[in-house]
Symmetry: C2
Subunit: 459 residues, 2 copies
Amino acid sequence: MSNKTNRRNFLKSSSLLGAGMLLPNANTQAGPNIRKGPLLDKVRVGFIGVGMRGRGHVDLTMRRADCEVVAICDIDPKALAATQNMLSKAGKKAAAAYGEKGERDYKRMLDKEKLDAVIIATPWEWHSEQAIACMKQGIYVGSEVCGGFSLDECWELVNAHEETGTHCFFLENVCYRRDVLAVLNMVKQNQFGELLHLEGGYQHDLREVKFNDGVNPYGGGVEFGDKGFSEAKWRTQHSLHRNGDLYPTHGIGPIAMMANINRGNRFTYLTSTASKPRSLNEFIVKHPKGGPNHPNANLPWKLGDIVTSVIKCNNGETMILSHDTNAPRPYSLGFRVQGTKGIWMDVNKSLYIEGSSPKAHAWENADAALKKYEHPLWAKYANDAEGAGHGGMDWFVLNSFFNNVKANAEAEIDVYDAATWLAITPLSEASIATGSTPQAFPDFTRGRWMKKKNTFGSM
Amino acid sequence: MSNKTNRRNFLKSSSLLGAGMLLPNANTQAGPNIRKGPLLDKVRVGFIGVGMRGRGHVDLTMRRADCEVVAICDIDPKALAATQNMLSKAGKKAAAAYGEKGERDYKRMLDKEKLDAVIIATPWEWHSEQAIACMKQGIYVGSEVCGGFSLDECWELVNAHEETGTHCFFLENVCYRRDVLAVLNMVKQNQFGELLHLEGGYQHDLREVKFNDGVNPYGGGVEFGDKGFSEAKWRTQHSLHRNGDLYPTHGIGPIAMMANINRGNRFTYLTSTASKPRSLNEFIVKHPKGGPNHPNANLPWKLGDIVTSVIKCNNGETMILSHDTNAPRPYSLGFRVQGTKGIWMDVNKSLYIEGSSPKAHAWENADAALKKYEHPLWAKYANDAEGAGHGGMDWFVLNSFFNNVKANAEAEIDVYDAATWLAITPLSEASIATGSTPQAFPDFTRGRWMKKKNTFGSM
């Protein structure tokens, strides 16, 4: 313990020296390590938010020999109880519980628990505040994904990191999807030639996430907000009041890594265009527990059913990012990676590599190539990840997170990625609000993207 | 003959009366007929441009009992000879041949041949001038597709039609593709609910069209312009000098018809974003007959390899239109039609209709639905179309054209469609040139879209 406490205290006191001492070393070197500190053999982990998603992370964390779940925080006593129950069933010690003192009780946890790492899985509007609070306490933080609310918020994340020297890992699990990492490997081995165009998105019919019966998390009613349960309690409000790409990261994270964004390349600008909003209202009106006279049947939903953003990159690539969460459709992140030598789409596992695909101008099934170019991470850990959430992705993202935490290494998906990807949401809202005018991306790296190498996937 | 001559002369003299008399009747009534004239039993057809594409139209025309190929015009004597040879082999009379007097010799043909209809299949830059010349002669004209050069050009087409009362049919064959028409039928029968989002494009690796050996039309070298043959002679220049969606109609035509564009709906604005241009240069440099020292190996290609346009419609739908003709990839027009009840994509024949698809949140193969909703035109004429170009589409577009000509009916794909779709190209060029700023579509119908009904597919 003294080892860990020492490091935590060292981090806290270092931050008092200001950013000047740490940064030149921190962000200009090629490798992923900001600086050397004593390595941790066991990580004391706290959790802010232990709803459905947070408990998924607790579950994976408690199974790891290198981690200890020492504290949990949630304003919902049922969520705390369910988590303790999970720990108890697994033969683990009960965690110190926080949250009964209100929404900011997490601060008490950060103060008292001598944590090495915190994982945040709260509603979207809390992520940045809590991540910044962790960094200011010198605690390595992993934040669940979402979209941002303002560019200022994105800058605050960056500034908190630079001022404290503490790291923030943005837990974008799809960056670790098996096919996504294999395709990243193919990109690095020049299978697609020079990249030209990429696509991704969040095309996921969330109607039974946005509405439920107030008891079960998925479907069974048309309630949300105070009368809803789980994500319906808070997520649905955003569809009512906002119009933009509200959830960009699952689509953009993987293709940003392939295009070396913040690592030799950057997003220059985007335009966004939204379709009319119709599907949520139609869902309520047609639902057996809804109907035209239900109180939710006449709400002015703002979120366009399909929001399309087009991003231009500094190195000349284009990207299409889709947000499509209201209408009935099969789930698809709609990935496409296209270069001067070939193209991959996850739809129907479509691959064409000129000179290598068996037939000219014809798709081949991508399976063989995805196997041949299996990413080293999956080659090594596929068995460990088996059974973990979202097809193993969740295991990989937490594994990278904890490896980074133990080495106090620069986050593999860092605060600059977080700021850049989060910024898509307010930029997209601004573009839609002004008739799809282009919106420039801030350079959150302050120019460091020009020198930084892409080492994603190395930990 | 006197019957036909009379009608042609009537049209010519009518046009002298100006637009006032004809138009109120012309564009405000619901049905497809502008006015009654004597019906034709045999259409005297002339052709401007009898290269590869033009000869395809001659071939289909000479097989029709209701048509006679009476005149052809081309500046290339070989094209004229090949056409005469085709006619002769089919036991048809030789056509009167024009072109030897230069690029505007087509005017002599229009003056002398008492034509009922003309089909234009020349290089892009000639379509509008020639279509306008036909209208001014009172000759029903069918024009091959392309992208426009300016909004003025689009207005000139509209004005020529309105001033003369003569029709221009824009020969967009993909509007008649079997699956496209079946899906249009599904849209009309409300299978997709209210439409939200549509996609289409021209994703066609044209490298072996843009470059050849100067003798054969497809591939075998890296020549174009004066040293190229067929389309390489003229089409490739546009990739060298222009950056925009140069060929929008195959993608936009079908989804425009589904979304009732100019028939109760209209395009409001677009944004366009282009990737860097790399693939044409790479093709030349790597080609066995090219190489880094070939004179074509250091040209400043302007056309982005992938150009993405997003269109907003007046009724709130969004559309993504792709132009992707330089890089290696399997052919795909990339259609997607999505509404509040379901979604179709031509990629992998993907269909999902809520409540009708066998499994929730899962694609079904579209074949059964496409058969069930077979469009009446295909149900009636599939056998006639068999063996015709592009999977039968070419037969259908010409059949509609000649049916319209015989009745002197309003063109099923009319001059307003032509102007609106052609306008995508200059608007896309303007958007790209100004950093993807939104570009408003002119309303070429001058407000008549608000009343016009969608009768596409009824002839």
